[in-house]
């Protein structure tokens, strides 16, 4: 990327003609960077000529920690990567280790996992919608989104006692049975949520300011998405009808009907529409799933000591932000030899430079918002 940002600008200033070119540091303490992201912007007036992301402020060495913990001990750590979608992280990790052990969670566990993960997707998208709209100047949606997200967090809290970093799943299945009234709570939320989505639509979808700020901003076409590895709603908004839940179903997704929403242009507005539709689809998945949660055990045949046979596994899931992959190498001991986490936010953030060149400074905020990054996951 533009590592020459600094030099170019100083050279131009030496000539006394390039006083219009400026390097602006945005972040790491900037509210619209959604954490500690620092972006060096090379500006020509209001136009962005280049960017460089400086990341790592939240680096905790998660992959190194993994090599020094047992498989079970590491499970809570993954919740702290994408901390607004901890359930999804946990699902990916637990399923990866299960595949490494060549065991499967019982079907009841899978269905409950699916419900919680889809609720988490809604919660993650709600937080994205609220903050993204706030960045662009629409204050109201944030409060509405937080209100609905609260209902989901309450379900998590009732289920496992935690709201944010839930550690809801265990390798091999679930630790907790669903509580009495779980289906009812999910149903009540889903029934109510239909009306709520309509409220956001009324506020934003046809709003001319919203359209003006998002249409044709941060366009990323399908070819660029694939080349840059951008996945999730970003890829779908560019017109690629692809979702890991359909392409390579995991958990219990093959039991349910849902659509993959796509966009056409791959701009910020399309990504908004895709995520809105994804929330509706997640809602439908939850409603289908609670219809019939199979009876049976919730924990598979996994011993107290997890010692996978030497070898390796790669497993990825469709997290709210994109492809979340785990590559785990086992050396036959109780601790993983290597855990590599493929974080969607990290890879998606790389597309920022492509998306923002030529746009205005104010659009940087919109594009960072539409990428839906979580710095805990970018930096790990």
């Amino acid at each position: 990327m533009a590592d020459t940002v600094q030099e170019d600008a100083t050279q131009r200033q030496d000539t006394l003609l390039g006083a219009d070119e400026l390097v602006l540091n945005m972040g790491p303490q900037h509210p619209s960077t959604h954490g500690v992201l620092r972006v060096k912007l090379k500006l020509d007036g209001e136009r962005v000529r280049g960017t460089e992301c400086v990341i790592g402020y939240l680096h905790r060495g998660v992959e190194k920690i993994a090599e020094n913990r047992t498989y079970q001990q590491f499970a809570p750590y993954v919740d702290r990567m994408d901390y607004v979608a901890a359930v999804s992280n946990g699902l990916g990790y637990c399923e990866a280790v299960e595949k490494l052990l060549t065991v499967e969670a019982p079907i009841r566990a899978k269905v409950i996992r699916t419900i919680l993960t889809e609720l988490q997707r809604i919660a993650s998208h709600l937080l994205w919608l609220g903050t993204h709209a706030l960045d662009i100047g629409a204050l109201t949606p944030l409060f509405y989104c937080m209100r609905e997200r609260e209902e989901i967090l309450k379900i998590f809290e009732k289920y496992c006692g935690a709201r944010l970093t839930t550690h809801a799943f265990r390798i091999g299945g679930l630790q907790y049975e669903s509580y009495d009234g779980f289906e009812k709570d999910v149903e009540r939320f889903c029934k109510d949520f239909e009306r709520r989505i309509q409220e956001y639509v009324d506020l934003l979808t046809g709003n001319s300011i919203w359209i003006g700020r998002t249409r044709n901003v941060g366009v990323l076409n399908a070819a660029d998405c694939i080349a840059l590895g951008a996945s999730g709603p970003i890829l779908r908004a560019s017109g690629v009808k692809w979702d890991l839940r359909k392409a390579q179903p995991y958990a219990a997704y093959d039991r349910y009907q849902f659509e993959i929403p796509t966009g056409t242009k791959g701009d910020t507005y399309d990504r908004y529409m895709v995520r809105m539709e994804e929330m509706r689809q997640s809602r439908l998945i939850c409603l289908q799933a609670i219809e019939n949660i199979p009876d049976g055990p919730i924990f598979g045949k996994v011993g107290k000591v997890i010692k996978p046979a030497p070898g390796e596994i790669y497993h990825s899931i469709e997290a709210p932000k994109g492809i979340l992959g785990y590559y785990i190498v086992s050396d036959g001991t109780t601790q993983p030899y290597r855990v590599r986490i493929r974080p969607p936010s990290f890879v998606n953030l790389q597309a920022l430079d492509k998306m923002i060149r030529g746009h205005l400074v104010a659009d940087v905020v919109a594009v960072i918002g539409t990428l839906d990054i979580v710095l805990g996951e970018v930096d790990r």
Partner: protein, 218 residues
């Protein structure tokens, strides 16, 4: 249901049944989760394969072997997931071929594993995904510590940051990378934390003292 999700994961290994049965004593529980009755028949035939890896010879591997011959050092399958071990010198050509001919258009992940006691200390691991075929393939590239494998950025631009992270964490330098510098750790940091000889409590105390003005808390 359990059986359906498995084959679709790595459809390359089209007949997943034999591979499912052979690797380890455990896999029978895959076919019938939570059914102890099904696990029993597998137990009397303990096929001791310490590594769950078996040689792989399907059409895909044949095409790679025909094309690159000795550069394909090995073709294996681990828990129904295929991977090729390839020679670092042919990395660029194999990457280009994988993308254009075999339609692995997405570099899903690129990372490394450290095996300090091996002659070629690192394994670079590229995880490829093909949108048209819905399949994955892993490429493993053994490299020595002073070797400079070719950057994959020309073939898959997403490799840019992934290679910077590998450089940051393992100290592997990629030839032809446009901007190879640390990405997660500070620029002046000494050492590469994901190497096995870098202890978890170890850190660049000099850097911490100089830049943060504190003594390391560890």
């Amino acid at each position: 249901m359990a059986d359906e999700s498995k084959p679709s994961q790595e459809p390359e290994s089209n007949p997943p049944k034999p591979t499912d049965a052979s690797p380890a004593p455990m896999p029978k529980s895959t076919a019938a989760p939570a059914s102890p009755a099904a696990a029993k028949p597998a137990a009397p035939a303990p096929k001791v394969l310490p590594a769950a890896q078996i040689p792989l010879a399907n059409d895909l591997v044949r095409r790679y072997r025909e094309r690159f011959g000795a550069a394909i050092l090995d073709a294996l399958e681990d828990r129904t997931q295929p991977y090729l071990v390839i020679d670092a010198s042919e990395l660029s050509a194999i990457a280009l071929y994988s993308r254009d001919e075999e339609k692995f258009d997405l570099l899903e992940d690129f990372t490394a594993v450290d095996w300090p006691r091996r002659e070629k200390r690192f394994d670079l691991v590229a995880i490829l995904y093909s949108f048209p075929n819905n399949t994955r393939l892993r490429l493993k590239i053994p490299v020595a510590v002073d070797e400079h494998p070719a950057s994959l950025g020309e073939t898959w631009p997403t490799a840019n940051w992934l290679e910077r992270e590998i450089f940051d964490m393992f100290g592997i330098e990629f030839a032809g990378h446009p901007d190879l510098k640390r990405i997660l750790l500070p620029d002046g940091w000494q050492g590469h934390p994901l190497r096995k000889d870098y202890d978890i409590l170890l850190q660049d105390t000099a850097w911490v003292r100089e830049n943060l003005g504190i003594d390391s808390g560890q």
